[in-house]
Subunit: 344 residues, 4 copies
């Protein structure tokens, strides 16, 4: 039984797990939670301690869940958690199936390098298999992966290793990149040559289903995969797409149109980034030259504003830094909806 449901609850502060109260009317408890995918209200960068705060709180309450916390609720975005639980209602399928997995701890000197790509690819395959999803059925693979701090770099150096970078903010990009390439390998989008080009910096190499995010709060990579499976009778569904750039309202609208007329929009998962060219639609943007506000914060605010405006939902999952997760300047996109369940 892999049928999954997604319940989005507000968070009043980074350690707020009171949204678990939504489970009781469904006959579920915190022990049933399969995954928590949350947005917390920090800066989403190196020193965003709202992520470990939230992860610690959710993990204490939901010991069986894999936790992913993405920092940064800029603009209209609202701090929230999406609880993935077994579906307690049913409808004609294929319905939503969700699988989870974790890698072993990534040594700091392997971060952003081939070993991380391989570890994530393996975890994605295991998560998909656990949900009875063929790798081609994966519509979204969310990965939470580590970053480097001054202390971690020093630790690696003391152990006789170099790290992929000594800069913490840059390490987040490198870690997201390796995770995204790992997703692409697992689902068959990328071969070994493409991965190597990606690691060498070719941003034209990307996965359409990867959504990766780095944080100080973990040493291994957490993976949550979503897809529609014939084996699932959940009334929830997921549809995936890609934003071509940060202005791609059409991509969002297209996915919203896929939602059945009588279905309810439940959640949107999007990746966003400052276009690395420094321009969008031919006009200069300033996200990469602003030394006061990190570029990922700008991108989340802008794309969050667009998606929240188009859907009316501020509690959507918009994550910053989309290296190899969609075309440069764009990002992966997925929409979860719920059709009317069959009366039981």
């Amino acid at each position: 039984m892999t049928a999954a449901a997604v319940l989005t609850v507000p968070m009043a502060h980074p350690a707020d797990t009171s949204g678990l109260a939504v489970l009781e009317p469904l006959g579920l408890t915190a022990d049933d939670v399969i995954a928590v995918v949350a947005k917390s209200e920090g800066n989403g960068c190196v020193n965003d301690f709202t992520r470990p705060m939230a992860a610690t709180a959710w993990e204490a309450e939901c010991p069986g869940a894999i936790t992913v916390v993405s920092g940064g609720t800029e603009g209209v975005l609202s701090p929230h958690a999406s609880l993935v639980v077994p579906s307690v209602t049913s409808a004609a399928g294929p319905g939503l199936a969700v699988g989870v997995a974790a890698t072993d701890p990534i040594p700091w000197w392997e971060l952003g390098r081939p070993a991380q790509v391989d570890a994530v690819a393996d975890a994605v395959r295991r998560a998909a298999a656990g949900a009875l999803l063929g790798v081609g059925e994966v519509a979204l693979a969310i990965v939470k992966c580590p970053l480097l701090t001054s202390a971690r770099v020093a630790g690696a150096q003391a152990a006789g290793h170099t790290t992929v970078t000594t800069d913490g903010y840059e390490s987040m990009a490198k870690s997201r990149a390796a995770s995204a390439l790992g997703v692409g390998v697992a689902v068959g989008e990328l071969d070994a040559a493409a991965v190597q080009r990606g690691l060498d910096g070719d941003l034209g190499v990307w996965s359409a289903v990867a959504s990766t995010s780095a944080g100080v709060e973990l040493q291994s990579c957490h993976v949550v995969v979503f897809g529609n499976s014939a084996a699932s009778d959940s009334p929830y569904r997921i549809a995936g797409g890609v934003m071509r750039d940060a202005l791609d309202a059409a991509a969002v609208s297209a996915l919203l149109e896929v939602v059945d007329a009588d279905a309810e929009l439940v959640q949107v998962f999007a990746k966003a980034e400052p276009d690395p060219s420094g321009t969008v639609r031919g006009w200069r943007h300033t996200m990469l030259t602003d030394s006061d506000v990190p570029g990922t914060r700008h991108a989340r605010a802008a794309v969050g504003g667009l998606i929240a405006g188009l859907t009316g939902l501020p509690a959507v999952y918009v994550s910053g830094g989309a290296e190899h997760q969609g075309p440069p300047g764009g990002g992966s996109l997925a929409v979860v909806s719920k059709v009317a369940p069959v009366p039981s």
Copy 2:
């Protein structure tokens, strides 16, 4: 002859006026520019020196123009200037008419107080009259007004006066508020009692056509009013509306639908702000509790992302801090378009 055109040009840096090259093919020169309404790439707050930098540059090149520079191109927004010039083509009216005016310098101790309301109201009336626009025909009144710095507060105190606040960032809100109330008076939306309630902090008092912005670079208030006038045969038109909140995609779409099928979208002017309730559509936002990024920056990024996505134009004018310029959390909105000119 009041027929006006709006030409949007990119700015490669805050002092870049090279966009004036767009005038030559039209048979115009910098001396013909009536107004420059620009977005520069600073933080849009107290110490945003990109505003004086841009204002100085444009004023040096366009000595006859009134200049308004709004700081802050967060997210996908692109630094640009909208040059208001006489229309050199024509179409069946009513067409766009634009008028300008300036107040006398506002003493620092009058900032944010009734004297500023009165001065702005008077300037708006003069600007409208200059454009042969009835006050009821004003679709948009942009005001650039001063703010307080530590030195200005000290100067006022040394002169035996108090100021409306001693905090620079708060003074921007107070100055925008008084200017907005002045617009509301001038166009007949607000009476004296309403103004008083507004000055007392009632955010339910607002003008639908005011778009005000504060800056360190001026001591008087600059006013630019836009409307469609039967006396204008410009092929440019303006249509005004109001965003009810920062997610109000419907308000934007409604205005875009007003644009004739064969017309070209030229520019959007929008005000944005963090909803003062701390929530939007019932969900908590964090714009007002983020001590790292000012709330106006968040709001510009989010609303800019929405408008740019809906229009495909990143070089739109989105200004932060919408006190009394639309309902709380929302803001005034206007769209300029251009129909096909009549062959001459």
Copy 3:
């Protein structure tokens, strides 16, 4: 027995309590800790969640301790905790005595108002009495007090009350101010008339021993008082002073000279703030007009740089926002040292 010792331990991250290992060689346990006075690495402002993170961690480990966490380790300052424990060695007195107390929760509408002044004054008196310190013997009174958020303001309004301000960052200043005035009342520095002038904004009203700090993580006020008492045979001592402005190296040096030649410098507690005049020693500073970095962050960095340079200790307690805690632009100052204990 009131003899107290102060042990400063590093914090590797905001929830790091591993420094408690310092207790075992002394024959102490976490249950013996009387107070934890820590500096965590957030922005020290409204959304600094490193404070609740650290407070939660220390309170879980040290259930008998009063916890004060001040956010912000700008510049060379290092995240750390000062553990106040019973002294296990002795020397000829008077030695350090430390007392603690807490107020009841402060209703949000009382924050920054007379009721908070009274509550803090009462708590300071209780803390001093508990340490057998006469109020005139109090050399330092550290207070941690609440702040307002959007939700708290909305809660107060829903209950039919107004709050002292609706701005979160400003509420921190108001809360610090009321706490400081309460300290001044308790130790006899300020009378009722002075308190009223202080609440009305007269920054010339101040306590030389108050060190107050606001945070989102508590609803009551936590108080820790330090003094030398004839009843204490601790080899630790405290000496208090005042920095006249942020450049007052002489005040720091004077206190350091008080430290016995054969004593060890243990900890420095200092308050810092941007001079509200906008100048220091006649030169303009930009701490109050910088909209990118809050003024309290600037002040901590600068005064922290001075004190750390003069002492060689980066793990000192420098807290930002010194309203009524020393003269405008300056702040209270105290130095803890340890003389050689008498062999037992």
Copy 4:
């Protein structure tokens, strides 16, 4: 005649050149200014437009001067300009001599690479020769050098070149590094092998007299060298040293003791940076993991607080980012003083 004087004047805003009024009583005019070395109040990073604003203003007024503007007056630092002019009084030498030079524009693809090292070395030699200073007599060599923006990187790539980095903030470090190595070559501190090690990232390679700063406002490198020369009868003197780390009060005090008892302290020039190890004196600092405030801002605030406290002067030149300009975590240091002139 190379005798030089240094006059420090306040700047009320980034374009304020009113301090030139100090020249008239000396019988000098703006045309006599040899160099302007200023601190402006921006963030000191990629998008610090206060630098071009100040440079443009000073260059317009002082057409014969070389201009260096370093952004960032964090903490107690005060925006100011040091005007280098011919000395109009005299004293027994050796006295201060100052020379200036500029390189040709550095192609964007050469930035941070050997060509920049060579160009700066050549300019330093020319500047020293112009001041009749032997290269061994150079006590301080200030260099202002370019940085990369998104547009500049794109321009280089369009021309078929790679750049040393694609990240603007990192390009500032690379440019400062190459300039510092160039200084070291010119004054004989570094040989070709050391330069190569430095370009490869060895921070143990450094010049004790280099003070380099990057900015968007120029394409060539500006050089100002200071030293005491037997050929100069100026009553001004310079003494150079090195801060071993950001807490090195002793280095500052040692230089201040060099100042004659009856001399006046005029100006201090210091470089500062976050210690790249992530620690200072064994304690963790958070300057490199703070994604809200760039590390160079932290470092300027802290070292500025120390130097201003030790000297009583907030209008000192403290510049952030000290790669190869002193030991890692420390920085070059120089003090200008003035002895009593001989009555003429």
